[in-house]
C-alpha cells in the first residue's frame, strides 16, 4: 500500500488537465451566460444577426477556448504538493506564487470527492480542511483513488485514522435503498424549493408571457382584453410552480444522497454518497460540535429520520454532505449513542413559558394584518380566507410550542424545536460549548423571563423564554462545566 512517495514535490495525475479545463470552461460559460443570452435573443429576433456577426462570434469563442486551455495547462503544471516533516506543503499559482504549508495536526478533515468529469476519468479530488478560514482550504483536483486513500491516511495519522478496504463491508452500518431515497425526496418539505422557483419565475414572468404570446403556445390569447386567459395563464403558472418546486427538491435529494453508505470506523463514521458529485467524508468523534436529528410528519410516518453532524468551520456545502438521511428511529439513536456515549433522553425535560406562543402570535399577526388590507379592497369575500389562515397559524404556533423543550444533564444538552411540519432535536456535549449568552428584552424583563443562547464552534442553540430564576442557574452551570474542562477540546 505504501508504494506512493510523498517526499518529493509531485504533480497531480495528468488527467487533472482535463478536470481543470472542464471546471474552468464551466466557470467561464457561467460568467458569459448573460452575454450568450443576448446573442441568442438576437438570433431569435433577427435571422440575419448570426450571419452579420458570424466572424466576431467565432473569433471570440476560439479566443475563449484557447485561453481556457492555456490556463488549465499552466494551473496544472504549477500545482505541486508534497509532505515534509509533518507538514503538507503545496506550491501553486501562475502569476502569484503561493506556498501553503499545513501542519498535519492542524488538519481538521479530509474529504474525497468525485464530480461527473472525475468519475468519467476515474480520478478523485482530495479536499483538506483546516480550522482556519475558508481561503486556506486546499483541493487536489485529480489523483487516483488508491493514492488518495494513502495520502488521506498519511495526513490523518495523528488521529490513528484507519480505512481498511477489506473490512469496509463488515463495518457497513447503513446503505440507502432506492425506495427510501425516493420516499425521502417525496416527503421533503417542498415549501422552500417552491419559494426558490417562485423567485426564479417572477424574474422571468414578463419574458415568459411574451414568449407564450409570441409562439402562440397552447391556445392562450394574452391580449389586453383577455381577462379570462390571463387568469388561466396565472393558474397554469401556479401549477407549474408547484410541480417545479416538487421536482426540484425531489431531484436535489436524489442526486445528493444517491447510493448513500455509512461505514463504522474506529474514530467515527465514513459517509459516502452522491450521483454527479460523489463525496466520501469522515465524521470524527472528537470534532463533532453538535448533532441534529430531524424528521417531519410525513417522514415520521415512513420512519425516515435524518442526522446532521456539525464540525468546526465548514462551508454550507459541507454541511449538506455531513448528513445521513433515511435512518429509522433506532439506527439514528444508535448513531447518536456512538458519538455521545451515555446520553439519556430520560433526564428531566423543561419547557419554555407560555409567553413563547404570544411572541410567535405577534410575529405572525403583523403580516396577516398587512395581507388583509389588499384583500379588503379587492373583495370583501376574500376576508373569509382568514378563517383557514388563522386556523393554520394557531395550529402552527401550538405545535411550535409543543415541540419546544430542553434538558441538561451532566454531559449533554438536548434541545427540541419544530413547527407544524418539522420536528428537530439538537444534541450537544457540554464540553463543546464556546460561550453562553443571557438575553432579555424589555418585554421579557417585565415578566421576569429571559432567553439563553448556547454557542458552539459550529452553531448556536437558543433556549427561549424561560424564567430568570431558571435561566441564571443554567448559565452558571453551563459556564462551570465549560470552565472546569481543559483547553484541549478541539
Amino acid at each position: 500500500m505504501e508504494a506512493y512517495k510523498f517526499e518529493k514535490p509531485s504533480l497531480q495525475s495528468a488527467k487533472g488537465i482535463a478536470v481543470i479545463f472542464v471546471e474552468n470552461l464551466y466557470k467561464v460559460i457561467k460568467n458569459i451566460l448573460p452575454l450568450f443570452l443576448v446573442v441568442a435573443i438576437g438570433i431569435f429576433k433577427n435571422d440575419h444577426f448570426f450571419l452579420e456577426y458570424q466572424a466576431t462570434i467565432i473569433i471570440v469563442l476560439i479566443f475563449v477556448f484557447i485561453s481556457v486551455v492555456i490556463t488549465a495547462l499552466l494551473k496544472y503544471y504549477t500545482f505541486k504538493f508534497h509532505i515534509d516533516n509533518n507538514h503538507f506543503i503545496l506550491n501553486k499559482g501562475i502569476f502569484r506564487k503561493e506556498v501553503i504549508s499545513i501542519q498535519k495536526s492542524k488538519i481538521q478533515n479530509i474529504h474525497i470527492k468525485q464530480n461527473f468529469v472525475q468519475q468519467i476519468l476515474n480520478v478523485v479530488a482530495l479536499n483538506i480542511e483546516t480550522a482556519g478560514d475558508d481561503t486556506t482550504e486546499i483541493e487536489i483536483k485529480a489523483i487516483s483513488k488508491p493514492m488518495a486513500l494513502v495520502l488521506k491516511e498519511v495526513l490523518l495519522i495523528n488521529d490513528k485514522y484507519e480505512v481498511d478496504e477489506a473490512t469496509e463491508n463488515d463495518n457497513l452500518y447503513f446503505k440507502i435503498s432506492l425506495k427510501q431515497l425516493i420516499l425521502e425526496g417525496v416527503s421533503e418539505n417542498h415549501l422552500t424549493s417552491v419559494v426558490l422557483v417562485l423567485a426564479l419565475l417572477s424574474g422571468i414572468y414578463d419574458t415568459l408571457r411574451d414568449f407564450i404570446k409570441f409562439t402562440h403556445l397552447g391556445s392562450f390569447n394574452l391580449s389586453a382584453s383577455g381577462l379570462f386567459e390571463s387568469i388561466l395563464f396565472n393558474i397554469f403558472l401556479f401549477v407549474l410552480l408547484l410541480f417545479l418546486g416538487f421536482l426540484y427538491s425531489l431531484l436535489k435529494i436524489f442526486i445528493l444522497n444517491f447510493n448513500l453508505k455509512v461505514v463504522n470506523t474506529k474514530a467515527g463514521l465514513e459517509i459516502s454518497k452522491g450521483l454527479l458529485n460523489k463525496v466520501s467524508l469522515h465524521v470524527q468523534k472528537n470534532k463533532i460540535q453538535n448533532i441534529r436529528l430531524r424528521t417531519n410528519r410525513l417522514k415520521k410516518y415512513f420512519s425516515l429520520y435524518s442526522l446532521q453532524f456539525s464540525q468546526i468551520m465548514e462551508s454550507k456545502k459541507q454541511k449538506e454532505y455531513m448528513s445521513i438521511i433515511a435512518l429509522d428511529d433506532l439506527q439514528a439513536h444508535n448513531l447518536i449513542d456512538k458519538f455521545y456515549k451515555g446520553f439519556s433522553e430520560n433526564s428531566q425535560i423543561h419547557k419554555p413559558e407560555k409567553y413563547f406562543m404570544r411572541v410567535l402570535a405577534i410575529q405572525y399577526a403583523i403580516p396577516l394584518l398587512l395581507l388583509n388590507i389588499p384583500l379588503y379592497f379587492v373583495s370583501s369575500y376574500l376576508i373569509l380566507l382568514n378563517i383557514p389562515l388563522l386556523t393554520l397559524l394557531i395550529w402552527h404556533i401550538n405545535q411550535s410550542y409543543k415541540k419546544n423543550y430542553f434538558s441538561i444533564d451532566e454531559n449533554y444538552f438536548i434541545s427540541g424545536s419544530g413547527n407544524i411540519i418539522d420536528t428537530i432535536t439538537d444534541y450537544l456535549e457540554l464540553k463543546s460549548i464556546q460561550s453562553v449568552e443571557f438575553k432579555q428584552t424589555i418585554f421579557q424583563k417585565k415578566r421576569h423571563l429571559a432567553s439563553v443562547v448556547v454557542y458552539t464552534a459550529a452553531n448556536h442553540i437558543t433556549i427561549p423564554h424561560i424564567k430568570v430564576a431558571m435561566a441564571q442557574p443554567i448559565v452558571n452551570y453551563l459556564l462551570f462545566k465549560t470552565e472546569v474542562g481543559d483547553k484541549n477540546w478541539m
Binding site: 468551520m313 460549548i433 460561550s435 453562553v436 458552539t456 459550529a458 452553531n459 452558571n476 452551570y477 483547553k487
Partner: protein
C-alpha cells in the same frame, strides 16, 4: 431542577451578582458619529439622486423617505442613549462578561479557555478620545466572538496582556 447532579447549583459562581464596569462615557460620541455617518450617507445619496432625476425641488417620495430616515435616526440615537448605561463588562477569574443593548439586553460570557486570540483596534476617532476596542476571538464563526468598544487604552492593554499571558500559560 437538575436532579441528577451532585454539584450544588447555589454554590456556583453567579453571573447575576457581578460588579460590572461601565465603558467610558466618551465612547457614546463615537457611536453617535458612526451611526450618524451611515444615516447621513444614505440621506445624501438620496438627495443626489433626487437632483439627478429632478430638475427643480425635492421629489415627494424622496422627501418622504428622507424624513422617515431622519426620524429613524432620532429613534435609533435615543435607544442608543438609553442603552448606553447597559454597556458594561467584567473580568472574572475564568471568563469575561460583556453586556449591552436596550430593547434587548444581551450578556455574553466567554470562558478564557475558549479564547483563540485577542486583538486591540483603535480607529482615528478612538485615538482622539484615547479609547480602544478589544476584540476577543473564539474558534468557529458562529458569532461567539466578542468586541468590547469604549475601553480606555490602558484598560484594553491591561486586559490584552492578562489574556495573552493566560493563553500562553495554558498551552
Amino acid at each position: 431542577m437538575f436532579t441528577n447532579i451532585q454539584i450544588d447549583i447555589d454554590s456556583l459562581p453567579k453571573v447575576e451578582s457581578i460588579d460590572f464596569v461601565s465603558v467610558k462615557r466618551s465612547y457614546f460620541y463615537i457611536l453617535l458619529f458612526n451611526y450618524g455617518i451611515s444615516y447621513l450617507t444614505l440621506i445624501s445619496v438620496l438627495i443626489i439622486t433626487n437632483f439627478l432625476i429632478e430638475d427643480s425641488g425635492l421629489n415627494f417620495s424622496i422627501t418622504l423617505v428622507i424624513s422617515l430616515l431622519s426620524f429613524a435616526l432620532l429613534i435609533h440615537l435615543g435607544i442608543l442613549k438609553l442603552g448606553f448605561k447597559n454597556r458594561k463588562y467584567a473580568l472574572r477569574e475564568k471568563d469575561i462578561v460583556f453586556s449591552k443593548g436596550y430593547l434587548q439586553v444581551t450578556t455574553t460570557i466567554l470562558p478564557f479557555n475558549r479564547v483563540q486570540h485577542v486583538e486591540i483596534s483603535r480607529s482615528l476617532l478612538e485615538r482622539k478620545f484615547n479609547l480602544s476596542t478589544l476584540k476577543i476571538y473564539t474558534a468557529g464563526d458562529s458569532g461567539s466572538d466578542l468586541s468590547i468598544g469604549g475601553l480606555s487604552q490602558n484598560d484594553a492593554e491591561a486586559i490584552n496582556v492578562y489574556l495573552t499571558t493566560l493563553l500562553n500559560g495554558s498551552v
